[in-house]
C-alpha cells in the first residue's frame, strides 16, 4: 500500500524568543515490510535539515533557530510503500542486542502494581499468546482518553489512573513485558486510519522480542498488531529516547503549538 504523510508542527510564541532547538525522530528507514520512496524533513525556509543516525539506528534531524523569532515550523513530507504482514518486523536496522531492551527507565519503571498486573496475564504456553493477552489487558485497564496524561506520565501512573493515550498504552505494555522477562521497546510512527481529515498527533506502539519470531509489534491502543497501515519511524526504550520531537527554547514566552498530521493512501 502506498501511503503519503504530511506532518506540520507550528510553534507560535507570545513574544519573540532568542533561540529554539528541536531533535526530530520523524524519518522512517526501509525494512522488508516498508520501502521509503521519498522523505523530507524540513525547517522553515530550509531545504533539508542536518541529520545523523542515533544509537538506536533512528534517522534523526536537528532543527535550530538561532535568532529572535515568534514563529517557526517543522514539516515532514514523505511517501512509503508498505506490504501486508503479521506485525513481525523483518530486515530492520538493529544496533543493540535484544537483551538491552530489558532495561527499566523512569517512564517504564516496574513497581509492584505493574508486576501484579503482568502476573495476571497468566502462564500461557507461547510467548506470542502471552503478549497478545497482555495487549488486550493493557487496553482493558487503560481507557483511551486524551488530556488525562502528559509526555511525563509513567506506565505506573497510567495504570493507576486507568486512562491515557497510545503512548501510555505502549509504556504499560513495555513495562509489563519486561517484567515477564521479554525484551520490549517503544515505537513511534504514523498510522493510516482511512480518515481524510488531518489529526493532531502521530502514533506510538510497542514491539516485543520473541525468539524464533523476532520483534513483533503490538498496538495496544488499537488492540492489533501493526498492519500495512503503519509507518514505523523511530524506536527507543521509551517515549524519551524515541520521541518524535524533543525541544528546548531560550526566552520567556508562551508557546502555542499547532500540529497537523495527514496520512493518506494514494492507491485504493
Amino acid at each position: 500500500m502506498r501511503l503519503t504523510v504530511q506532518h506540520r508542527t507550528e510553534y507560535r510564541y507570545s513574544q519573540p524568543i532568542a533561540y529554539a532547538i528541536q531533535t526530530l525522530r520523524l524519518a522512517p528507514r526501509s525494512n522488508d515490510g516498508m520501502a521509503v520512496l521519498s522523505w523530507r524533513v524540513r525547517g522553515e525556509g530550509r531545504s533539508e535539515l542536518p541529520s545523523f543516525v542515533d544509537g538506536f539506528g533512528n534517522l534523526t534531524h536537528c532543527h535550530a533557530v538561532n535568532r529572535p523569532h515568534d514563529f517557526t515550523v517543522v514539516t515532514v513530507e514523505g511517501e512509503v510503500e508498505t506490504r501486508p504482514g503479521d506485525g513481525v518486523v523483518r530486515g530492520a536496522i538493529e544496533t543493540l542486542p535484544t537483551g538491552f531492551y530489558l532495561r527499566m527507565t523512569p517512564l517504564t519503571a516496574i513497581v509492584p502494581e505493574i508486576a501484579a498486573f503482568a502476573a495476571e496475564i497468566g502462564d500461557r504456553l507461547l510467548p506470542v499468546d502471552r503478549l497478545t493477552a497482555l495487549m488486550e489487558a493493557v487496553r482493558r485497564r487503560v481507557d483511551y482518553r486524551t488530556g488525562v496524561t502528559t509526555t511525563m506520565t509513567t506506565a505506573a501512573e497510567a495504570l493507576r489512573v486507568g486512562a491515557g493515550v497510545c503512548q501510555d498504552h505502549a509504556h504499560l505494555f513495555i513495562a509489563a513485558s519486561r517484567t515477564l522477562g521479554i525484551p520490549a521497546r517503544y515505537v513511534g510512527g504514523y498510522l493510516w486510519t482511512g480518515e481524510a481529515a488531518p489529526i493532531e498527533a502521530s502514533h506510538a506502539w510497542a514491539e516485543a522480542y520473541v525468539a524464533g519470531h523476532g520483534w513483533i509489534g503490538f498496538d495496544a491502543a488499537n488492540r492489533t498488531r501493526p498492519t500495512e497501515a503503519y509507518i514505523r519511524t523511530a524506536i527507543g526504550l521509551d517515549y524519551w529516547s524515541a520521541a518524535p520531537i524533543r525541544g528546548v527554547r531560550r526566552g520567556a514566552a508562551e508557546e502555542r503549538l499547532g500540529v497537523s498530521v495527514q496520512v493518506m493512501s494514494t492507491q485504493q
Binding site: I21, T23, P50, G55, A64, P97, G99, L102, G247
Partner: protein, 478 residues
C-alpha cells in the same frame, strides 16, 4: 623538635629501617623545630585560601568554601616503584579504552563470554546513545584517575578506576607549587620529577582528538557546571593553564549540528570540549530533559561528528564497580597481556554465593555501593558499630546487586604531621592518565591521606587531606 614516631615511616618498609628515598626527609623532620612546621602549615593554608583553592562540600552548614587539609610531609616514590606503576597504568587504561570502544560497537568481549552481557547491557553506565559512534583515535577515557593503594613493598592494588570526570589534578599541581614555596631547600636537595607540564599534556591530548573535519588549530574549551560545583577551582585552574575558555552550558549554542560559543564578537566555532559536567546533564535534548547545566543539541553535534567530547559520554561503563572485577580479564582479552596491577579481590553481592560469604564476614569487609562515590554509603566492617553492621546487612539482603564487598586492606602509611608530631597515616594515590593518540602520565599524582589515626577513608568529603607526591629521579645523597 616534633615527636617522630618510630613507626611513622611505613610505605612500606616497615618494620625496618627508614627507606633510602625517605632518608633526607627523616633527617629534616628530626632537625626541624615543631613550631617551624606549624608555622609553615599555617602559611600553606594561607596560600591556598588566598589563591581560592577551595572545595565545596555539599550539605554542610558552615563554610561553603572549605580548604582540603594539606599535609606538609611529602609522599615519596622512588624511580623504580614509579616505573612499574606506569607500565601497569598504561596497560590498564589502554584496556579500559578498548573495552569502551568494544562495548559501543561489536561487543566482542560479551560474545566471547568474558563477562555477563546483562552486566553491561542493563548497567546504568551503559549509554545506548553512544552505539556505533566512531570517536577520534578511539579514545573514550581521555582523562582517567586510577585510585591505587599499596599493601606491601611491591604490591599495589587498583581500588577503583575513575573514567567519567575525575578531579583532583589541580591539587597535585598546587601541592607541588606550595612545597616549592614553603621548602625550597628541601625540594632542591631532592631530584623531584616535575609535574607542572600536566596542563600542556592535557592540551596536547585534547588537540589530538579534534574531530576529523576540523582543519587548522582546534578550538578547545572546558565546560563546567559553574562556580557552585565542588571542583570549580580546578576547572578554572585548568582552563587558565591551558589557555582555553572556561564555558558554562549557556555559553554554548548549537546550530546546524555545529557547536559555537557566544563571544563579544559573535559566535565562534568549538571543536573539542573537555567537559566536567556529568553525562545526564550534558544535553537536555538527549539526556535528562530537566537539566539546566548543559547545552541543548550538544549531543546531536557530537553524534554528527562535529565536536569531540572528552571524556566521551558513556565512558562510565568502564569504571562501574560491578564491571571492575572484570578489568584483569579485559587486559587479557584486548591486549593479550597479564595484568601488571592487581585488582582488590571483590565480592559481587548480586551473586548469591558471594552474598552469603559477605554476610558471614561482614565484620572483616568493606562494603560499598556498586554505584557510589565520595566515600558515602560505605561500611568499613572492622570499624563499624554492631548497629551499623545490622543496618547494612538489611540493605544487602534487600538489594544485593547494589553492593560489592572487599577485604579490609592493610593500607600503607606515610609520615604525616599531626597534633602529636609525625605519625603514620594511611594513604592512597590517584595518578592521572591521559589518552589521546598515545597514553601520557605525569610522574606522581594526588596522594590522599586519612588524617584520623587508623582511618582508612581518605576522601576529602570525609575529612581526608592531601600530600604532595614526589617521584624521585635519583635517590637523595645523604
Amino acid at each position: 623538635m616534633p615527636a617522630v614516631y618510630a613507626d611513622a615511616f611505613d610505605e612500606t618498609g616497615l618494620p625496618g629501617p627508614c627507606l633510602p628515598h625517605y632518608a633526607l626527609i627523616r633527617r629534616w623532620l628530626d632537625e626541624t623545630p615543631r613550631d617551624f612546621l606549624l608555622h609553615k602549615r599555617r602559611e600553606a593554608e594561607l596560600l591556598f585560601r588566598r589563591a581560592g583553592i577551595t572545595f565545596s562540600v555539599y550539605s554542610e552548614g558552615s563554610d561553603p568554601e572549605r580548604l582540603i587539609p594539606f599535609d606538609i610531609v611529602p609522599r615519596i616514590l622512588c624511580a623504580e616503584e614509579w616505573a612499574r606503576l606506569v607500565r601497569g597504568l598504561v596497560q590498564r587504561v589502554k584496556a579500559l579504552n578498548a573495552f569502551v570502544a568494544d562495548v559501543y560497537h561489536e561487543r566482542e568481549i560479551l560474545a566471547a563470554g568474558k563477562l555477563p552481557a546483562e552486566l553491561v547491557l542493563l548497567n546504568d553506565g551503559f549509554c545506548a546513545e553512544m552505539q556505533d559512534l566512531d570517536v577520534a583515535a578511539s579514545a573514550y577515557v581521555h582523562v582517567a584517575g586510577i585510585d591505587l593503594v599499596r599493601v606491601g613493598p611491591n604490591d599495589f592494588y587498583v581500588l577503583e578506576d575513575n573514567c567519567r570526570t575525575p578531579s583532583g589534578v589541580s591539587y597535585m599541581l598546587e601541592n607541588r607549587e606550595a612545597m616549592m614555596r614553603l621548602f625550597p631547600n628541601l625540594c632542591a636537595k631532592h631530584r623531584i620529577a616535575p609535574v607542572s607540564h600536566y596542563p600542556e599534556e592535557l592540551h596536547g591530548t585534547l588537540q589530538a582528538v579534534a574531530p576529523p573535519g576540523c582543519t587548522g588549530e582546534p578550538v578547545i574549551v572546558l565546560l563546567t557546571p559553574g562556580a557552585g560545583n565542588s571542583a570549580y577551582y580546578e576547572h578554572s585552574f585548568l582552563a587558565d593553564e591551558m589557555g582555553v575558555e572556561l564555558v558554562e552550558g549557556a555559553d554554548l549554542v548549537v546550530d546546524d549540528n555545529l557547536v559555537f560559543m557566544r563571544t563579544t564578537e559573535g559566535l565562534r566555532r568549538v571543536d573539542v570540549i573537555y567537559r566536567r559536567i556529568d553525562d545526564p546533564y550534558l544535553d537536555p535534548l538527549t539526556f535528562r530533559p530537566d537539566s539546566l547545566l548543559g547545552t541543548p543539541g550538544l549531543f546531536n553535534a557530537y553524534r554528527a561528528g562535529n565536536v569531540t567530547l572528552a571524556n566521551a559520554p558513556g565512558a562510565g561503563i568502564a569504571d562501574d564497580k560491578a564491571i571492575y572485577p572484570y578489568v584483569p580479564e579485559m587486559i587479557r582479552f584486548y591486549l593479550g597481556e597479564e595484568p601488571i596491577l592487581a585488582n582488590v579481590p571483590t565480592y559481587r553481592c548480586g551473586d548469591p554465593r558471594h552474598l552469603a560469604y559477605v554476610l558471614d564476614h561482614l565484620s572483616e569487609l568493606v562494603v560499598k555501593e556498586a554505584r557510589g562515590s565520595g566515600g558515602y554509603g560505605m561500611l568499613v566492617g572492622p570499624h563499624a558499630a554492631a548497629a551499623e553492621r545490622a543496618c547494612f546487612r538489611a540493605k544487602l539482603v534487600a538489594r544485593p546487586e547494589n553492593y560489592i564487598a572487599q577485604p579490609t586492606l592493610a593500607l600503607s602509611t606515610c609520615p604525616t604531621f599531626v597534633e602529636n608530631g609525625i605519625a603514620p597515616r594511611h594513604v592512597d594515590l590517584r595518578p592521572f592518565v591521559l589518552s589521546g593518540r598515545e597514553v601520557r602520565i605525569v610522574p606522581g599524582g594526588l596522594t590522599r591521606v586519612a588524617l584520623k589515626s587508623g582511618s582508612l577513608v581518605v576522601n576529602s568529603s570525609q575529612g581526608g587531606g592531601t600530600k604532595d607526591t614526589w617521584v624521585l629521579e635519583r635517590l637523595p645523597e645523604t
